[in-house]
Symmetry: none
Subunit: 456 residues, 2 copies
């Protein structure tokens, strides 16, 4: 392990430059205009795994964007770690809010600014670099490694569960290791044991068969934007709770122990509000802000549009109004059940002046992992040694649906050892990742493999 | 008058060919690529006024597209009619939905298909042709004529009020005559005596200082789309009334006589709903659909946007949400007063989790003209004689801001004597105007001048 760590120290500059090469490829998975770039990123990774000395690396086709699979066998007596990550990124818009080109990584004050710098190219890329440090520094790996790096995480990983099912034997492992989460706070190494699920919908209300002149038709024709606003307004109540009947039926409430852990976390609510520029929170009555951010289910409109949205005034009465609405789920809510309850509620509230279309875009299961396992304790030891502070086990408000799939299909728990920060602006303009956290991540992964090999 | 009418009959074919010449000039005012064409159309009109025997015709510059001014003095003892019209047109797109070239007028079944055929080249051009019929048929006009034909109506007539103010003395007249409206139904000659005003706003709600990840922040941060939806939802009530306090304070209610007139209009509500594809109306309680469409004030969201509106799913909690919201006003509402009431109401409803920006985009005054005036009765007599059916006085739900400007600046009422039909597809592909309505218009204008000269 020491030689691996030394190799990493010597090569950190090159590692960072390589990451920047990957960040230059605009692998936006949700927009078909970038399909070739997504494939280029996959091919770049395959080439890179090979250069790093990994035995096997290949592009594996799906009905969507390809998956990069790589593997290195260290010995039959060694445990197998399946590394999961993703090489696709969110769209960069709004472009005019970026201080530098989202696809031309720029270093300012020891931090790399680029779309994907943190989510997840930066964090994912620590894993082949840790492997390279072992292979070139020690000459061998303490664990068998398998890598599944997908290109559709930002569009809901739709083809990944099928891929895992089809290749379950090949993907056989002892644990899944993922770096796609954030530390609770700067300097607080964190291992995520809980994730929220997701149910993402798109609804369209159609009134008249075409956009109408608001002078000629206004006063007689119901407006889909008004109807959509009514519907959205009635999706939550004055207590910050989701108003869909039955929405909370399957919610596992927080244990007293969990609430105590939450209360001990170093959370400065005022600074948190300052950082995002708000003067008041909006939370579910009866729970702390931190609890609401990760252990309670939510509903948010992610986007809304309809009618004339250009410059100036156009007196149009829109034919249609649209909204993307998603819900974050917690154990033991199920996306299918929530979709059904929401659809019934919306259809019941659609006025007779228009029609409603309900689309289920994608869902994901919520997750809770046992913090006492060998893998979780190895991660805790590794991160603690690197950072010099005892790591905390935390729940995350985001969703990594694939974690539930790994459990369901392969029976594997996932260790979520992330080095991001909430302030890294992932999914936002000026996404960034600090070079020192990139380095800490590589060191921690190197130590994790050693601890896990010893304890497993 | 009889000689003028005979002259017109003899020359209708040529009149139509001349209109087609004007329609070939793509005078799209909103797109600077057509600026030369707009000027060509103005010059074509000046030349044409001169050929028709009008004494004065000239291009008058503005800071935008030019205005064509023409005048013919018939005698100091004669009343003066100021004709207003516009020679600019809407853009032709979507081009692929036109059955023939929008700028190559094509006659099918006695109807001219071209951009501007009805709005307003076809209707405007009836006026110089009626004048020519008098000048060449009778040798003299029964009224003094002044023409203001602008090139910016489709972009909001921004330079016209200033032009009228600067040339108020030169534009001195007894009445304004405009053909830029539609008949209530085919075969029902209509004179518009009421127009709604407009107050057009744009509001923005800002929550956090940037778009946030809905997993990391969802549950703690209020969502501007939710807040905007609440606000929109509370702008109208269950009775289809605008909920802004004081909104109806200055509304002049319909008289019993007006309500009787509305009730007599040939309105088939089912066909009207079929045509726009709705199964139910939404109207203000206590008023008929027709009344709500033109004699009652309204509020409509013209556009809404915020967050992610592209393809697929993006789990963003938007920083901002925007809406364009306009109100159609009726006498004696004033846009400034309504803006103030709306802004107070919105600011009071903005939650403490976000800030609200309120912009006043543009307003226009509502108009009501006394139907008993000599000019209105002259129009009624003229149209009735030509069409053979008693004309109706109607109110129009749209706005023609320049009508209020003529009243405010010159103290003049406008006679809105239009020969369009709602089905003429103005502003849409395949705009058209029937040749027989073009001819009816010319005959009606000839008769109007005679009646008005006799009664004024």
């Amino acid at each position: 392990m020491d030689s691996a760590l030394r190799y990493a120290e010597t090569n950190f500059d090159r590692f960072t430059e390589e990451l920047e090469e990957l960040l230059r490829i605009p692998s936006v998975s949700t927009d078909s205009a970038y399909a070739d770039d997504v494939r280029d990123a996959a091919q770049w990774l395959v080439d890179h795994f090979e250069e790093a000395g990994i035995e096997t690396a290949e592009i594996m086709e799906t009905d969507g964007h390809p998956i990069v699979y790589a593997a290195h066998h260290a010995g039959d007596d060694k445990p197998t770690v399946l590394v999961y990550g993703h090489y696709d990124v969110q769209p960069p818009d709004p472009l005019d809010e970026w201080e530098s080109d989202p696809f031309e990584p720029t270093r300012r004050n020891g931090t790399i600014y680029a779309r994907g710098a943190c989510d997840d190219k930066g964090q994912m890329f620590m894993h082949p670099k840790a492997a390279e440090a072992y292979l070139h520094g020690e000459g061998e790996l303490p664990v068998n490694l398998k890598f599944v790096i997908e290109g559709e995480e930002e569009t809901g990983s739709i083809h990944l569960p099928g891929f895992i099912e089809s290749h379950a034997h090949r993907l056989d492992a002892d644990v899944v290791l993922i770096s796609d989460t954030a530390m609770f706070a700067p300097g607080v190494p964190s291992i995520t044991y809980g994730l929220r699920g997701l149910a993402y919908t798109e609804i369209t209300l159609q009134g008249p068969n075409r956009d109408l002149h608001s002078g000629i038709y206004g006063g007689g024709v119901d407006n889909p934007v008004h109807a959509l606003s009514d519907i959205i307004s009635n999706l939550t109540d004055d207590n910050g709770r989701v108003a869909i009947p039955g929405f909370y039926d399957d919610v596992r409430d927080l244990t007293d122990e969990e609430r105590k852990t939450y209360a001990r976390l170093p959370f400065d609510e005022d600074s948190w509000m300052d950082e995002i520029g708000i003067e008041a929170t909006r939370t579910e009555a009866g729970y702390t802000t931190l609890e609401c951010l990760s252990a309670r289910p939510t509903l948010d409109v992610n986007g809304i549009w309809g009618g004339y949205t250009g410059e100036g005034a156009k007196t149009v009465l829109p034919a249609k109004a649209h909204a993307k609405i998603s819900m974050r789920l917690v154990p033991n809510q199920r996306a299918e059940d929530i979709y059904e309850k929401m659809e019934s509620y919306l259809k019941a509230r659609c006025p007779d002046t228009m029609s409603l279309t309900f689309r289920r875009l994608h869902g994901g299961k919520p997750v809770l992992v046992d913090t006492e396992s060998a893998a979780m304790q190895s991660a805790k030891a590794a991160m603690g040694e690197v950072v010099g502070t005892e790591p905390v086990f935390v729940r995350n408000g985001g969703s990594i649906p694939i974690v539930a799939d790994f459990k369901d299909i392969l029976g594997l728990d996932s260790v979520l050892m992330g080095f991001g920060l909430d302030s890294d602006a992932i999914h936002s303009p000026n996404e960034h990742f600090a070079v020192d956290r990139f380095q800490q991540g590589i060191r921690s992964i190197i130590r994790f493999h050693e601890h896990y090999a010893a304890s497993a």
